[in-house]
């Protein structure tokens, strides 16, 4: 009898040990996947925050720029920079033939002419002088410099020619290639040229979408939750509504995209590809999440608080507004932020309402066309150029950072403002 008991006890301890082991290995697996995922993104993406520049001597020849003596500011604006730009690139190799001159031109970004122009506009005294100017390297050379380019491929399978590589290596040897922090990644809108593409447009698009979403979803959801929880009679009709709110939360997001397309764009003719439409569509998606969070936190307010207020002669409205709602706010707010974070990462509905369009301007209001961060990731991931690979990872890093900050904020609100009741 006693021995049996001993065995049973041992068995119980062993079972518990096994269970702990399973739990630990589950956590270990989850952490492992997360680490691999983050490592992969960081190792691919970190180089996008650096940008390669070629330092090229440019001679600001007044004649070539078609400038008269003592040119005014407008003259400088209108001057012709193409010839001096071309010439300064061609001068990198005095022996180049016409084809090679063309190849030299393609070693820098498409807008190198503009960079030279800005240099002169900043300092008009440069006319007639020669100055070393920083020119954005082409995206392929950028990748070569970062060591991401397969130089050993046969020449006809590469976009960079042997000649370009030879000149580039000479420049590197002379210290005329430099890597600097890539500010334009944060200040530029999207571009077809990987070296110039930035996230400013999609970042602003995301912010505007989230703001529109918040302004619509939050008040509607909170009012709905308060009504359902505090005022509505409990009957079949409210049960039916409750079930359908839960159903709404489970609807795939692409369906909301179709709704936005069919109703907001086709019937109300709201401007296409704008954060306004994106925000409204996302708010439909966020609505049930916030309602559910708000109802849960209203339910968590102890009934004794309501009774105390009612017994003091507060009306139902006063009880709700003075006591129940303020007490439920931390939970509601953190639910809202989590809902918004979900909306921030949403891609499918935005693609359907046209926020996938190529936008090379930075939106100034929710009525301007824009992309959003996840859609930007999608657009870049589809692009063929090698330079976009690191941009995708960099954009994911920005999006993840944004999400982590929002979730952190939700946690802080929950811990800091949650009141303890007796």
């Amino acid at each position: 009898m006693n021995k049996n008991k001993e065995q049973l006890l041992n068995k119980r301890y062993k079972a518990e040990q096994r269970f702990r082991l399973y739990g630990l290995s589950a956590i270990f697996m989850a952490l492992l996947f997360l680490t691999i995922f983050i490592f992969k993104i960081f190792s691919t993406g970190y180089s996008a925050f650096q940008k390669t520049w070629l330092i090229v001597p440019v001679t600001f020849d007044a004649e070539l720029m078609m400038l008269d003596q003592n040119p005014s500011k407008e003259d400088l604006q209108d001057a012709d920079y193409y010839d001096i730009a071309l010439k300064s690139m061609a001068d990198l190799d005095p022996n180049a033939n016409e084809d090679q001159e063309n190849e030299l031109k393609r070693m820098v970004s498409y807008f190198f002419e503009k960079e030279i122009k800005n240099e002169l506009l900043n300092d008009p005294n440069l006319i007639g002088k020669t100055k070393e100017v920083y020119l954005t390297a082409s995206d392929d050379l950028d990748q070569v410099f970062k060591g991401n380019y397969p130089r050993d491929l046969p020449e006809d399978q590469r976009r960079v020619s042997d000649y370009q590589l030879k000149i580039f290596d000479q420049l590197v040897a002379n210290g005329k290639v430099e890597s600097k922090f890539n500010i334009s990644f944060f200040t530029n809108a999207d571009s077809r040229e990987a070296e110039l593409a930035g996230i400013a447009s999609s970042f602003m698009g995301s912010i505007f979408s989230i703001l529109v979403c918040l302004m619509i979803a939050f008040p509607v959801a909170v009012l709905a939750a308060i009504y359902l929880e505090e005022f509505a009679p409990k009957n079949r009709f409210t049960d039916f509504i409750e079930v359908n709110i839960n159903n709404l939360a489970a609807v795939p997001s692409i369906v909301f995209g179709l709704l936005g397309l069919g109703v907001l764009l086709a019937i109300f003719h709201l401007p296409r590809s704008t954060p306004l439409v994106g925000g409204i569509t996302l708010s439909l998606m966020t609505l049930p999440t916030i309602i559910i969070a708000a109802r849960a936190s209203l339910k968590a307010v102890p009934p004794s608080i309501r009774e105390a207020a009612l017994a003091m002669g507060a009306s139902r409205m006063q009880t709700t507004m003075h006591h129940t709602v303020p007490l439920s706010m931390p939970g509601t707010l953190s639910g809202t932020i989590i809902g918004l974070a979900q909306a921030l990462g949403e891609t499918a509905p935005l693609i359907l309402i046209g926020m996938v369009a190529f936008v090379n301007t930075i939106p100034g209001s929710p009525m301007d066309p824009a992309a959003s961060l996840p859609v930007q990731i999608y657009i870049w991931a589809e692009s063929a150029e090698r330079g976009f690979v690191e941009k995708v990872s960099a954009c994911i890093m920005v999006l993840l950072g944004f999400l982590i900050i929002m979730n952190l904020f939700a946690q802080i609100i929950r811990h800091k403002f949650e009141k303890k009741w007796s």
Partner: protein, 258 residues
């Protein structure tokens, strides 16, 4: 309190029935409650004494499935009548609950809440006075006067309950309902509250539901004994405890059941 030797009746319940859905919780309760006296309602768990108490300030309205029939007159006004405004009613009838339930706000806000929503103070100064007198009447002022702006939930259980009493009397109600106010408290805190009840009856009519017969005997002048939703007997506390008419009352008091 008697005027010309006649007991003043503050509350008069006539044929009150309470139903939770289809289940009847109270049967035909008729009970008179005297002004400026403490009336104790005693009886075993689930006998309906709390339900009856909650009828007196219409707190049963909050429960969807609960329905109350019959008439309850307070100052000769039927509170179950359609013309009765519950907000005004509850201003006149304060309530203290079983578990201390201060608002998770400061002590000051707890006490000033009632006067604020009923517009009883014209200035900050008046409000300060109301808060001070209420806390003094609740015998809490000396303990908390230096921390009025700290959260009420930081007090001990007994202090919290006195805070709830201060909150209840801040609107100078005519009647105070107490639903087992000491059941969550230790003996010392209980003694403090009982002393307080004795003091408060000078200005208020008090009805207290209690599980402790000793408490009923100590604090009340009148006692009603409930059993299975019926009011078995009521009368002066002396009589109920020393010489009850009904055998069930006798059995309960002597601890045969309950």
């Amino acid at each position: 309190m008697r005027k010309n030797g006649v007991k003043m009746i503050k509350i008069k319940a006539k044929d009150v029935d309470v139903f939770y859905g289809k289940k009847q919780a109270l049967f035909n309760i008729s009970l008179d409650i005297e002004e400026n006296q403490v009336t104790a309602l005693i009886g075993p768990s689930g006998c309906g004494k709390s339900t009856f108490l909650r009828c007196l300030n219409r707190m049963n309205d909050v429960i969807d499935i609960c329905s109350v029939k019959g008439e309850i007159f307070i100052n000769d006004f039927n509170i179950n009548d359609k013309s009765c405004d519950v907000v005004r009613l509850r201003e006149k009838i304060g309530m203290v609950f079983q578990k201390p339930n201060p608002f998770p706000k400061t002590l000051y806000e707890n006490v000033s809440y009632g006067p604020t929503i009923h517009g009883m103070a014209q200035s900050k100064q008046e409000m300060d006075e109301i808060v001070e007198t209420s806390l003094k009447k609740a015998a809490l002022w000396e303990e908390v006067k230096d921390r009025l702006h700290e959260p009420g939930t930081g007090l001990s259980g007994g202090q919290q309950q006195r805070l709830c009493i201060a909150r209840a009397i801040s609107v100078t109600p005519e009647v105070i309902l107490m639903d087992e106010p000491c059941s969550a408290l230790d003996p010392i805190a209980t003694a403090q509250i009982e002393e307080l009840i004795d003091e408060l009856k000078k200005e208020h009519t008090i009805i207290i539901v209690t599980h402790s017969m000793a408490q009923a005997a100590r604090v009340s002048q009148n006692t009603g004994f409930f059993h299975l939703g019926q009011l078995i007997e009521h009368g002066s506390t002396d009589k109920i405890f020393k010489n009850p008419d009904n055998k069930k009352t006798q059995d309960y008091i002597t601890g045969r059941f309950g």
